[in-house]
């Protein structure tokens, strides 16, 4: 379990980037094995020891971008997209560096999450209060942001809103992840930003849910047992068989990453219950259409 604290103190430095480091290590290991390169050879390439390579592959060191690119070259990984993905991970893994630099802490743990989201092949979300960030309209995103940052300047609000919208590029990229979102009826009825904003948001949700790689399921009030039992959370799944699922829970002043199997199992079980308890995707579309006519 990793907790990223808002104040960017020791907890954040020690544990914040666990997941990106882990992902990076696993992938470097895989590429090295595939290339038939020994840890000694790899160490020699980057002027380091065999044990340094092993620590890297276990995600237990701070990564240098140049080491990673040199290793990728040695392993014959030439695909630009793959290389860029790993370099992006290096930057995330070293994210405590940013934190001291920027001091705008909340945005940073969120950005670290965005990197993971971009690496995921399946994103499963449960939303109790708000429409998921990937599906928000600009006005809705602004209303949500204002709720959380009542004293922020207009410029800062703009920056935060822009970040939320930038995140949605994920859905229109060349190989978008499957986004499977379960949403509580309460989140659909709460008129965040007012009735007109909510109306437009419901329309957007209906549009987005029609995409092949997006699934929206509504948990109606009539069957809310599991929905009532916990808060919103996200499970990220990665295409690599050896990379574990990661549970992400956003809290008011921090975020929680869980990647231990028992924890993930527990959340996945809840997610599966929610998915079977919810209306089917087809039913949910009808529900959303009805609701959008009502409001």
């Amino acid at each position: 379990m990793s907790t990223v604290e808002r104040d960017g103190g020791p907890a954040a430095d020690a544990l914040g980037p666990t997941v990106p480091r882990l992902l990076l290590g696993i992938q470097l290991h895989r590429f090295r094995e595939a290339a038939g390169v020994s840890p000694e050879q790899a160490g020699y390439e980057i002027r380091a020891s065999r044990s340094k390579i092993s620590r890297m592959e276990n995600g237990r060191v701070r990564f240098k971008e140049r080491d990673v690119t040199d290793l990728l070259t040695l392993y014959g990984v030439t695909d630009a997209k793959t290389r860029a993905g790993l370099v992006a991970l290096v930057r995330q893994a070293n994210s405590p560096g940013w934190w001291s630099k920027y001091g705008d802490i909340m945005a940073d743990w969120f950005e670290a999450y965005l990197g993971l989201e971009m690496a995921a092949s399946v994103i499963r979300t449960f939303e109790l209060q708000f429409v998921h960030g990937l599906f928000q309209t600009e006005d809705y995103a602004r209303a949500v942001t204002l709720l959380g940052h009542t004293t922020a300047s207009a410029a800062e609000i703009d920056r935060r809103v822009n970040m939320r919208l930038k995140r949605q590029d994920l859905l229109t990229g060349p190989e978008p992840p499957q986004v499977w979102s379960v949403i509580d009826e309460g989140a659909l009825r709460r008129p965040v930003g007012g009735t007109a904003v909510m109306q437009a948001q419901l329309k957007r949700l209906i549009e987005v849910a029609q995409r092949r790689h997006v699934t929206v399921q509504v948990v109606p009030f009539s069957r809310g047992g599991h929905a009532a039992a916990g808060g919103s959370f996200t499970v990220l799944r990665f295409g690599e068989p050896e990379v574990p699922d990661v549970v992400y829970i956003e809290q008011l002043t921090s975020a929680l990453y869980l990647d231990k199997r028992e924890d993930v199992d527990h959340y996945m079980e809840v997610m599966n219950h929610l998915s079977t308890e919810a209306l089917t995707p087809a039913q949910s579309m009808r529900f959303l259409a009805d609701l959008s006519r009502e409001t």
């Binding site: 399946v122 499957q178 499977w180 092949r212 790689h213 699934t215 399921q217 109606p220 009539s222 069957r223 799944r237 068989p241 574990p244 699922d245 028992e262 199992d265 996945m268 079980e269 599966n272 219950h273 998915s275 079977t276 308890e277 919810a278 209306l279 089917t280 995707p281 087809a282 039913q283």
Partner: protein, 277 residues
């Protein structure tokens, strides 16, 4: 040996009036679709499934290879059906949890307009199928909550989704082991009787030709998972009576139209593809 397909016990499971699929996920007993997912290297399994899967592996270490090889047969069979046989409609009963190459992905790679009806009676499987087994824009995927013990209900519902004047491929992949001969043969005949001439039937299941495999299976059947029965090659042949068998006939799964680079493995699962005259 079990299947990547879900359990088929219990009452027929139509959607409830409010459209939800029900909530019967039990994580306290092993579940065949989740154990199979574990053997295939998937992540949709729980501790109880991994434990049952590991116990099986202790007695019969080759089970993961059986799972992968059997799944590879599904890929080759669908590729053949969509390709050489020109089939554009698939009725896949006992869908199981999604894996790398699902029926619609294989079929739509050959013919994007392919239409697939996935049938299962397990709410977990159906929820995954609806969310993740989504069609290319040119074709379609539909999901039926139904029990194979009621073939008439499946045919009725499928008639609203597929064109029954055109050939349909019926797929029963690793699912008939859940039924005794007395149940299994009539189910298959009734399903085939409802399909038009020129339709195809593809099946694989575990065979009883290896003693360690048989022993592992007995242990599995005591684990609380829905029991699964191994059949002899002769019993497999009976499923295809009255059909024109596609070459090479009813054979161990690695021998059915293998890919050129396929490794040579001994696998105790049998399969076949037949055409309804």
């Amino acid at each position: 040996m079990t299947d990547d397909r879900s359990q088929t016990q219990g009452e027929p499971g139509p959607e409830r009036p409010d459209g939800t699929a029900g909530t019967a996920i039990d994580t306290t007993v092993p579940h065949s679709a989740r154990i199979w997912n574990y053997w295939l290297g998937g992540k949709d399994n729980y501790a109880v499934d991994r434990q049952a899967g590991d116990q099986y592996k202790d007695i019969f270490p080759g089970i993961a290879v059986v799972a992968q090889t059997s799944r590879a047969f599904l890929t080759r069979a669908v590729r053949y059906l969509a390709g050489q046989a020109g089939i554009r409609q698939f009725l896949d009963i006992g869908t199981g949890l999604p894996t790398a190459d699902n029926t619609h992905q294989v079929a739509q790679r050959v013919a994007p307009e392919s239409r697939i009806v996935y049938v299962d009676n397990d709410p977990l499987v159906l929820a995954h199928a609806r969310a993740l087994l989504t069609s290319a824009p040119e074709g379609s995927t539909e999901y039926l909550a139904a029990d194979i013990r009621n073939p008439a209900a499946i045919l009725d519902a499928a008639a609203g989704l597929l064109d029954f004047t055109q050939p349909i491929a019926l797929m029963l992949m690793g699912i008939m082991g859940h039924f005794t001969d007395e149940e299994a043969y009539p189910i298959v005949s009734r399903l085939l009787a409802g399909l038009p001439s020129g339709s195809y039937f593809a099946l694989y299941d575990g065979a009883d030709t290896n003693e360690a495999f048989n022993e592992a299976q007995r242990g599995y059947n005591d684990s609380g998972a829905v029991p699964y029965h191994l059949r002899s090659p002769e019993q497999f042949a009976r499923f295809f009576e009255g059909l024109e068998l596609v070459e090479p006939g009813v054979v161990p799964v690695p021998h059915w139209r293998p890919d050129p680079d396929a490794p040579a493995v001994e696998i105790y699962s049998y399969c076949g593809v037949g055409r309804k005259p």
